[in-house]
Amino acid sequence: MQLLSKPPGSTSVRYVSSVTMEVSRVVTGRSTTSPEDSVVIKFQDVTLRDGNHALRHSMTPEFVASYCRIADKAGVYSVEVGHGNGIGASSFLIGKASHSDRDLLSRARSALTQTRLGVHVIPGFATAKRDIQPAIDLGVDVFRIGTHATEATTARKHIEYLRSRDAYVQGVLMMSHSVSVQTLVSQAKLLRSYGADAVVIMDSAGNYIHDDVRTRINALVESLDCGIGFHAHNNLGVGISNSLAAIDAGASFIDGSAMGLGAGAGNAALEAIVAIYRRRASTPLQLQPLLDMSSLIETTFRDSLPRMTAVSIQSGNAGVFSGFAPHVKSVSQEYGISQEELWTELGKRRLVAGQESMIREVAKDLMNL
């Protein structure tokens, strides 16, 4: 289980300026020929985690292993594996995973020799003792501690614990569209102060358009002395272009998934982002394995591939967590209420991930039951 190199610990301020240098080349469209003087974008493949939302958390250890064997050749920075809401999140509330975190992670671990193995962790679902500690022991390389965009303080203990175990940690702010740029920056700084090596913002509702991403990533890159990442959802059909906007604005980590397999309308398709990125910048990434991963997803999950729909546009505009989609669908069928009406009301009430059980209550309220 040899890594290409140790994941970066605390990166320096100079890191930001070198990203900016590269960005200027990307923006002007001139391709770079000397990779030494540029910071290479690190692509994080979330297919086997966020994609589990689209499969109702039914990913098998066998599939994880076969996907990881190809991903290992592609040169992506990390492959994230687990239940859609991260390790320890398998539940009646969100959805039971068909296979344990342990089974999925250990199969992924044996299949990955170059690429880092990552997990998503939400405090409140996962605990240090029950979930994080075993994941460290299973050989996970990248821990991503995610909280709602206003709740960074709930991640302190988990980040500090991971740092005490010398693990590499990214702090993740979910539903980042729901707060002001100022709040986002101050929450990101908290994560950094707890010891996060990098901070990633997620557009969990697929609400952003180009300028929203640019403004936020710019502000974060300017205000923090660590790598900044972006995680798109494709509810409005702009996941890929939003990811490119994040690169242009100085992000150094980009999340994506094969065929965009992910919650709601899915994520940004990694193979497309990389194909476009390769036109303009040097990268050690191989396109062919990424295309093979895409084909594998397409053929294996033909009936579950996410796409932009009337419903996804509605939920993206309403700013509601994409992972609610299957719950909204079933409650709307059960009560005979339109999905559109439900999404709008859920947006008004500003529900967050983990409040899936309220969808039923909201439906009953709407119908005066």
């Binding site: 009646f92 409140g124 709740e151 967050v352 983990g354």
Partner: protein
């Protein structure tokens, strides 16, 4: 003639302040002392002149006045509670612990005597743990569902609370919250597979606390559950008026039953959206009352 239960509250944050207001209004109690660590803390300032002692030297403040009190409510931290309990034992007093120390006997007042482990201590010098807000809010519903189920395979307790009602201690102790809530769920159901989830929602205006239960069972009698709820919930409402069933027990799968309660606070000192803090404080006062009346 009944004598009043003479108590002190230690910890001058939101929980401690709300406890004081509750105790002052309760006909069975006399609030003798409120104890903090800073002479000018806003909590102590609020109570000064309204009760006999407002003290700022922590647990040591009580050394000379132990004879004037019967019991102590601890609204500090798990670490401090361990020390406070040692002092209370020396003085022979009972303690109601609102920290997640997990030291004392977990008690949900409405279930006393209803499950094998949910009993009061027989010694006057006793330590009761108020578990967690999720534990207190789920327990009456969990009990109502569990007694009409057979073959409980799994139990899950998920709560969402207003971000503004979660102070620094809650945020730092999420893992401890989860463990303690799962522990009491195991105790009530007798089922060893328990999961607890806590979600903070920052929406404005703040949301009311909700707790949803899921039980995987071989069999459940939903009519029996509904009848049980009608018996148990009015008793909960006596000490937590804002406790309400918002989603009736129903099957989400052929073998999984679910139901949801909402907890609105009474608004003594804390705002109405702090139902999570309210329920644990109400339970603490009720536990002290039960303990004292049983012992006497």
């Amino acid at each position: 003639m009944r004598s009043l239960i003479r108590v002190a509250v230690i910890g001058t944050g939101n929980i401690g302040s709300d406890l004081c207001e509750r105790i002052l209004l309760h006909p069975d109690f006399e609030l003798v002392a409120f104890v903090g660590r800073r002479p000018n803390s806003p909590g102590l300032d609020r109570m000064r002149g309204r009760i006999r002692y407002t003290l700022s030297d922590g647990i040591d403040s009580l050394s000379s006045i132990w004879p004037e009190i019967d019991g102590l409510f601890d609204a500090t931290s798990a670490a401090s509670h361990r020390l406070h309990w040692i002092e209370a034992q020396r003085a022979g007093k009972f303690v109601v612990d609102l920290t997640p120390s997990n030291l004392g006997r977990p008690i949900v007042p409405v279930l006393v005597g209803k499950t094998p482990q949910m009993n009061l201590e027989t010694d006057f010098c006793a330590n009761y743990s108020m578990v967690t807000c999720g534990g207190q809010s789920s327990a009456p519903l969990l009990y109502s569902m569990a007694v009409h189920s057979s073959g409980i395979q799994e139990v899950e307790v998920s709560s969402s609370i207003a971000s503004r009602s979660a102070g620094p201690a809650t945020r730092d102790n999420i893992d401890e919250y989860i463990a303690a809530t799962e522990n009491v769920a195991r105790q009530i159901t007798g089922c060893s597979v328990a999961k607890s989830i806590l979600v903070l929602n920052p929406a404005e205006p703040p949301i009311m606390m909700r707790t949803t239960l899921h039980l995987r069972v071989n069999q459940i009698d939903l009519t029996g559950v509904s009848q049980e709820i009608r018996r148990v919930f009015p008793k909960v409402s006596e000490y937590v008026p804002g406790y309400e069933l918002v989603v009736e027990p129903h099957m989400v799968n052929p073998d999984v039953a679910s139901a949801t309660v909402k907890v609105a606070g009474a608004g003594y000192y804390l705002p109405e959206y702090s139902g999570n803090l309210d329920i644990i404080n109400a339970a603490a006062v009720e536990t002290a009352r039960l303990h004292f009346s049983q012992i006497r």
